[in-house]
Symmetry: C3
Subunit: 449 residues, 3 copies
């Protein structure tokens, strides 16, 4: 991974370039996805370490190791799982199911097994997708000691009766849960949390896409001045966020905004899922960005099923954390199958997702409340060069409207985000209007919220 060349675009510039990949950043992120694709990850183990080491080449990543058995909230850090090989051999010694060809073939967290058995004995340990006969499903058994193989329905139908040698060369033993963390300090200690799960094996959209976009978002933010501090988490799903929350409970009050980034590489509609609060600033920022992004998009309500927002949005924490994805999880047939591969994600979709993230960050960074210093009547904008000289023209233009809206609503109780929402104008335009007005002393700036 090389440093992203994406300039810190204003929201407007970002919106304008959405839909293609002029800076090449989409192709770069796709390269990251492709390099990480072969690694067999799970919620613990060397696949996670290998992934984090790769990311740490370009990011100041702290890698944490939490021992198995550690109590974290209502949970316990499980034993560490590693796997070297797995196969089902037929009576002639041919590997008819082979972990070396796809790490999806083994149910994640399968305990070791080496046995000879009939197809009938093997059958309860085999998982297929009859409706998608050529795809391999992805299955896990993290908290229930079991073993199994996933294979295509076509493979299953090809298995003759005879005896089979079944081997899973795995280990499940005390070790560690591993996760990565990047803190980019800003002017304020208040934090924006970006959380991405890293526990899936060879699945491209879920969630190598999220890993790539989060990493490039971090790199983009490294290169700019920041009001907020930004904390990026690269964690295994559920147990990772539970662990991080348990270890950082005394610092959660610093989190002002948060976003889970997951499944952001497919070409489906940009989807923002609201935080449990429903009207947090991050929710409103996402609404504004999606309204103007020029892409198919949707905003959906919080529900307690999905990714790590379940943990951040549990009632004891209730953090303002939303989710950015493309097609929501479970709503595309490739979800959790071997078809979620490098053909399913596209450089353009990755680039669009990154730009949406950057536009949201721009709002978080730039939102503030100004006070109109000339609140009685409109100030005479013409003599300040802020109003066209020639009158009578029907359409005032977008920037002129933004100037009028900012003046009209800057009564101390409306922030720029409020103004963008009420006016229907892009946040970047509203923000630019405020800068113009502040430059002529028509606004007094307040601190960001």
């Amino acid at each position: 991974m090389t440093a992203p060349r994406l300039p810190v675009a204003s929201q407007q510039a970002a919106a304008q370039s959405l839909g293609d990949d002029p800076s090449g950043v989409g192709a770069e992120m796709f390269g990251v996805v492709a390099e990480l694709y072969p690694i067999c990850r799970s919620i613990t183990g060397d696949g996670v370490r290998q992934t984090l080491r790769y990311l740490s080449r370009d990011l100041p990543l702290d890698i944490h190791e939490v021992p198995s058995g550690t109590r974290v909230l209502d949970w316990t850090v499980p034993n560490e799982w590693n796997i070297r090989d797995a196969y089902i051999k037929d009576s002639r010694g041919r590997r008819v199911v082979d972990f070396q060809l796809s790490n999806l073939h083994v149910v994640s967290y399968s305990v070791p097994v080496h046995a000879r058995m009939t197809l009938a004995q093997l059958r309860p340990h085999l998982f297929t997708l009859p409706d998608r006969p050529d795809w391999i499903p992805y299955r896990t058994s993290y908290y229930d000691e079991a073993w199994g193989f996933c294979l295509s329905e076509t493979q299953l139908l090809g298995l003759g009766d005879g005896d089979y040698e079944v081997r899973i060369d795995s280990s499940l033993a005390p070790g560690h849960l591993t996760y990565g963390e990047v803190l980019l300090a800003g002017k304020r200690a208040d934090e924006v949390l970006i959380s991405t799960h890293i526990c899936h094996p060879s699945l491209a959209n879920d969630n190598l896409s999220g890993i790539a976009v989060s990493a490039f978002l971090a790199r983009a933010l490294q290169g700019r001045e920041r009001t907020f501090s930004y904390r990026f988490l690269f964690i295994p799903g559920t147990i990772g966020s539970v662990t991080w929350l348990a270890l950082n409970e005394d610092r959660l009050h610093l989190i002002r905004h948060g976003l889970v980034v997951a499944g952001v590489g497919d070409p489906g509609p940009v989807t923002y899922k609201r935080s449990r609060r429903g009207d947090a600033v991050i929710d409103r920022a996402a609404g504004i960005v999606l309204r103007h992004c020029g892409l198919r998009s949707q905003v959906v309500d919080f529900s307690p099923y999905g990714y790590d927002e379940r943990q951040y949005g549990s009632p004891g924490f209730n953090l303002p954390v939303g989710v950015l994805s493309r097609t929501p999880h479970g709503q595309y047939p490739e979800y959790h199958t071997s078809a979620d591969n490098l053909e399913f994600v596209t450089p353009a979709a990755l680039a669009d997702s990154l730009r949406v993230c950057l536009a949201m960050v721009e709002i978080l960074e730039d939102d503030r409340t100004y006070v109109n210093t000339s609140p009685k009547g409109e100030p005479q904008l013409g003599r300040r060069g802020l109003y066209r000289a020639m009158g009578g023209v029907p359409d005032p233009g977008t920037m002129q409207m933004a100037i009028l809206w900012v003046l009209n609503l800057s009564d101390g109780s409306h922030s720029l985000l409020d103004i963008a929402e009420r006016s229907g104008l892009p946040f970047g335009t509203v923000s630019e209007a405020a800068r113009l007005l502040a430059g002529r002393s028509l606004l007094l700036g307040q601190s960001a919220r």
Copy 2:
């Protein structure tokens, strides 16, 4: 009337069986309607007494007699009206309009008359429905001393000129207003009020249907443990509720929820009319039940025209009383005509209406606020047998979603009804999830509201 065999079904079970009559309770209620159909009721008189005596066979009915002349709120209990016979005879002595054939033929509360007159003299006392030439309208003149006959347009057109003998053998004299009351005491003194009008003669849907459904609801509630106390009123419309309110003003503060049951036997859409408050618990319970009942249904806003909700919802009382009906009054052509007969109501519609009532009662009884005892992160459901062992499957299923919603929203400020509304899940599923969680000490129960 025999005791209803309907088990106290959970809301879910009720919803599942909606649309047919497997328990035969619809047929039983239809039998009640058919038996009460011939009686000539009005707002006072022996028809009401006869109806209440019939109901008291199976219900612990208190029958109240309030003397004519009693001041009740702004009203006065009127004289009692009874009728024995009435007819119009033509010059050849044939009964061309005959009360013995239909009690609708006489305007209710007609004063006695016995006279001979021409058709022209008679004409102002005759009421027909020209648009429905074969139907007899239903008309009343409770508070204006008058007399009249209702007949079909066809009958009217058949009347020749000659002289007619007109006879109404009625009495209008000091007596009593009669109503019935059933109180089923519960654990709490707080009451749910179920109110049904009993003042109409041979009209099946309006309101023998309401009488039957209310009576069977009372019987069903007799057989179960009750948190609330349930008060059933079988009263004449308007003057009955006015009288009851006047006599019970010191106890109205006990009424927590209320429902007028009227016109619940036709196969039209289930209609709930909100209380004057608009957002009472009974209003929200009805909304949830109708959303999931599997029948055509609608929720309409309060208006001060209709049944006894006008009195309960007058500004000085403002009780949280809604109305359950099928097609709203006045919106079906059979309304207040002889076509509202035993062919217009169906056992299935009666059964569905009763089940809707029971499902609403289930919510009133079972709604409560729990507190998640493990509010930080999700509790690990898998080790408690509340989460499927095999991970990766896209669809979590309804009960799994209910468990997650209940945990997520049980922060002390959301009741099960709130959770059902926000999650879009049936109340029964939410309630069952709460029972499962409370059984594993993941929820602490609070008292019902």
Copy 3:
């Protein structure tokens, strides 16, 4: 202008007669528009004085003169502009553009010029509408010293190369800003503000229509008893309202409701633009009137672009001032062109606009909160002659419904306007029901708000 013969119609009567001009008042207003059409107005100068003098024939108009150079809020009253003649002559001395044919030909506030120049030198001073080749645009340059001519694209294309004599015989020098004001005192000092701009030359809809409707509204209100005081402003746009606000800042607290009247003569949909507050009484009154007016209509949200509501609704004042127009400014092609002429406005549209204004005034005047003196149950309306004697009829009728709604909601916290909104009934019907009930002591009246 003769005194309007329009009776002070109740809202209902007004609504019923909308759509035609039975009283001839539309024709009278059209006559005013036609008489004022030829005058060359601008934001200052003799055209404004001439217009105000015309209005003062029938209205008690105070004409104010504010000296150039006066500081008003953030603005300064500009020099006074007057014009006598202007033309462009070709090399043969023919007037190819002639102010005497249309005062739109000169950019308003053009400084004097008398020069000979080539077409190339002249070109930057010429304004056309290429898409509407036969129309002359309307352009101004109030605050930027410049000069220019507006002409049709056809005229422009006909100009040969040679030399041209250019003459604008105008003066721009210290003088006065002129505006007119009518105060109709009411029982209360609280005011309703009606504001109309008078600064446009030969444009019929914008805003001779507003001038005519405002003047006739004033005349209609002269002839009736008034609770509120009514202040009518006939002012130049922007600088006029800024000036008036600056000079009257100590009295603005008296303004309870306000309306800008502009562009009310075209046959487009009646459009009400909400005040900045969005839920002011005037906003709600307009909503009710438009809902029942029987004309195509729309209610749109406030935005800080348009007419003088920009000044009244600036954050330092935030007055409850909405805007009544037909097709909104800038949304019809004739806007600010020579096609906004006497063919574009119609007597019927003017009459409808006036009636809408009168219906809004009726609500402002008549809205009040009553208290039901018999709030427990319905009062017995029959014995007071307020309920039909014959019962059983399905449809109670509009006035009966209004009586029931007024009784039901008159609990001290709902005004007649609230009741009209919730019931969906016309305000006039609700108001009439309240009068009937108050006449029978069933309501106690409160003062208007």
